[in-house]
């Protein structure tokens, strides 16, 4: 039987799915974001790319909440290796990754809703505006951009650490995020 929940040794399939689907989506949104701001007015994707970025962003924010709930309902697999400082850094990076994701959702939402317009999610539902401050779209836009870059740097660190565990420490840190026990 497929193992859905985490245990003390490893991750279940739901945590694994959250990790990789959200990771891929974040890469996709980062690329789409870089690409869409370079499009010119007469590109066919000028409008569509932004709608897609906003729609996926909202769905990702919802997945973030679900993932956090799932994380709280599950045991955390114990960290491998015996260096306490590594465990502390890993824990800190994981926390900051979650925090940066949340801040990206909030800042992105604040750009698009700065004039009171709601965000349309693929025509299925709408997320209404709330805050409307002076220059909100500029301030939120700047924060969104720098957070996105910072998140990518942090993801790079996170991935490098996973590879280090696999290649140098030769432990199961990377493997247990790829499959269950």
């Amino acid at each position: 039987m497929a193992q859905l929940k985490n245990n003390n040794e490893g991750y279940g399939w739901i945590s694994i799915a959250f990790h990789w689907l959200m990771g891929l989506t974040i890469f996709g949104l980062f690329g789409l974001g870089l690409y869409m701001v370079e499009l010119t007015y007469y590109d066919a994707w000028y409008k569509g790319s932004l709608d897609l970025h906003k729609g996926i962003g909202i769905l990702l924010a919802m997945a973030w909440v679900a993932r956090l709930v799932w994380k709280l309902l599950n045991p955390a697999p114990k960290p491998l290796g015996n260096k306490a400082w590594e465990h502390k850094v890993a824990h800190l990076v994981h926390g900051v990754l979650y925090l940066f994701m949340l801040s990206l959702f909030v800042s992105g939402y604040l750009i698009s809703t700065a004039d009171g317009r709601s965000i349309d999610v693929f025509g299925v539902f709408e997320v209404p505006a709330s805050l409307m401050m002076d220059n909100q779209e500029d301030i939120a836009g700047m924060i969104h951009w720098w957070l996105a870059l910072s998140l990518m740097v942090l993801v790079g660190l996170h991935a490098a650490a996973a590879i280090k565990h696999h290649v140098i420490d030769k432990d199961r840190t990377l493997m247990r995020m790829l499959k269950t026990d």
């Binding site: 007015y41 007469y42 750009i111 809703t113 700065a114 004039d115 317009r117 779209e137």
Partner: protein
């Protein structure tokens, strides 16, 4: 008492003898810097600059002495759409972090009729300064109900965006923008 009345009378005649200075009533928002540009050639898109300031000199009996100075805060552009405004403020268009101000400083005025004339001056936008001239007309002037004296004007001109180094492609119908200035000043 007579002396005071006499002094007031002298002051009044002194102000009548020369062009009076008016501060544009931005505080009471009786002044507007509007713009208008074609969208795809199918409709007009309207917007405005919410923050600006300025003065003008005007005397109906000596219109050739008229002058005006307006300074516009480019980041205050408002087309009623935050995402569009963000784009307009960015480097594709106004580049407001590099060019926060746009100014018009008149250098001459030619009366063309009763309450009408052509004003010429230097207009700065996107860091580019050009000599432009455009027609202006008096809408009216007189005392206001609160003890002040006001005069109001309108002026319209059309700018080619590429002349000011704004060359983002909005399509062949959208290369020019109409600027409308509607200002009311309170005499100082």
């Amino acid at each position: 008492m007579k002396k005071i009345i006499l002094a007031l009378g002298l002051m009044a005649s002194a102000t009548l003898a020369q062009a009076a200075t008016y501060n544009i009533d931005t505080r009471g928002a009786h002044a507007f810097v509007q713009f208008k540009i074609k969208h795809l050639g199918y409709s007009w898109l309207l917007g405005r600059f919410n923050t600006f300031d300025g003065q003008f000199e005007y005397d109906a009996s000596a219109p050739e002495k008229s002058s005006v100075f307006v300074e516009i805060d480019t980041a205050s552009i408002d087309s009623n759409h935050a995402e569009r405004d963000k784009h307009l403020k960015g480097s594709d268009f106004l580049n407001v972090s590099k060019f926060p101000k746009s100014t018009f400083k008149s250098t001459g005025f030619e009366a063309t009729g009763e309450g009408e004339g052509v004003i010429s001056g230097q207009f700065t936008l996107h860091g580019v300064t050009k000599d432009i001239s455009f027609p202006v007309s008096v809408i009216g002037e007189g005392s206001d109900p609160w003890g002040g004296y006001r005069a109001g004007f309108e002026g319209k001109t059309t700018l080619k965006l590429a002349d000011y180094g704004i060359d983002y492609n909005l399509g062949p119908a959208s290369t020019h923008v109409d600027i409308e200035l509607h200002i009311e000043g309170v005499r100082q």
